[in-house]
């Protein structure tokens, strides 16, 4: 995700609680924040709500933002936390919601039962592991970007992905699927 840097005066005004500066930042970054969140939660409607939640948190924390730092990276980190909170509280979805304009089609080579069981097992993963695995394995985001968004090291991201895969393997084996 490219980070669009702001002229520092807009960021400084935002720090002082200026609503116009906040609107400028909102309009410039809402797309990036939404796209990041939808990759994690895989639900466009929830992603829209979470984008608003993210910018609400950003608005509340405006005084803590350092205008010398990247607004995009800061926003992405807050967005990741909002998405994680959502995954912790949301009911486990086993399928993508129907309001996607053209939902991605699963590979036809894979048996429906295997696909269903894999999806179920994946949605049962702890949110932190699921987020790392979604971003790294499904969405193929760079590990460095994931690490920055989660506020952890690249090594810790790799560890989370490894633990997610190990849990998935265990769960699939329990269900009689040998990956």
């Amino acid at each position: 995700m490219p980070v669009l840097e702001q002229p520092s005066d807009v960021l400084r005004q935002f720090c002082h609680g200026d609503l116009d500066a906040f609107e400028a930042l909102f309009r410039q970054h809402q797309g990036e924040v939404y796209r990041w969140i939808v990759r994690i939660v895989r639900d466009p409607a929830a992603a829209e709500d979470l984008t608003i939640e993210t910018f609400w948190r950003i608005h509340c924390a405006h005084a803590r933002f350092d205008p010398e730092r990247s607004f995009g990276a800061w926003a992405r980190r807050i967005a990741t936390n909002a998405a994680l909170d959502h995954l912790r509280t949301a009911r486990h979805e086993t399928e993508l919601p129907g309001d996607l304009a053209s939902p991605p089609v699963p590979d036809p080579d894979i048996a429906e039962e295997v696909r269903r069981k894999t999806t179920c097992a994946f949605h049962r993963l702890p949110p932190k592991l699921k987020t790392a695995a979604t971003l790294a394995l499904i969405e193929e985001q760079p590990y460095q970007e994931i690490a920055e968004a989660l506020g952890i090291s690249v090594g810790a991201v790799k560890l989370r992905v490894f633990r997610a895969l190990r849990l998935l393997r265990k769960e699939l084996k329990r269900q009689g699927i040998e990956p």
Binding site: V38, T51, F55, W56, S102, R115, T119, L137, L165, L172
Partner: protein
């Protein structure tokens, strides 16, 4: 779990849950700024002092103005 297992499960996962691709790139389906303003307005209303509190404050102020002798009694009970 070796590296090959890791790769196999990763592939299975990707086949079962394909990346959102175009969907993720499309951005929100509507302008979210009006909803953002509503959210900010709701919070401002929630954090506003309710009218009853103002009425109570006015009543206490009026009472103290009419009966200044009650101020030490009030302070004693606080």
């Amino acid at each position: 779990m070796n590296e090959q297992d890791e790769k196999r499960i990763g592939q299975l996962l990707k086949k079962s849950l394909p990346p959102l691709g175009e969907q993720a790139g499309a951005g929100p389906r509507r302008d979210l700024w009006p909803a953002m303003l509503r959210r900010m307005g709701d919070d401002a209303r929630r954090s506003a002092v309710p009218w009853f509190d103002w009425a109570l404050l006015a009543a206490v102020a009026a009472w103290l103005a009419l009966f200044p002798g009650a101020i030490p009694v009030l302070l004693y009970h606080l």
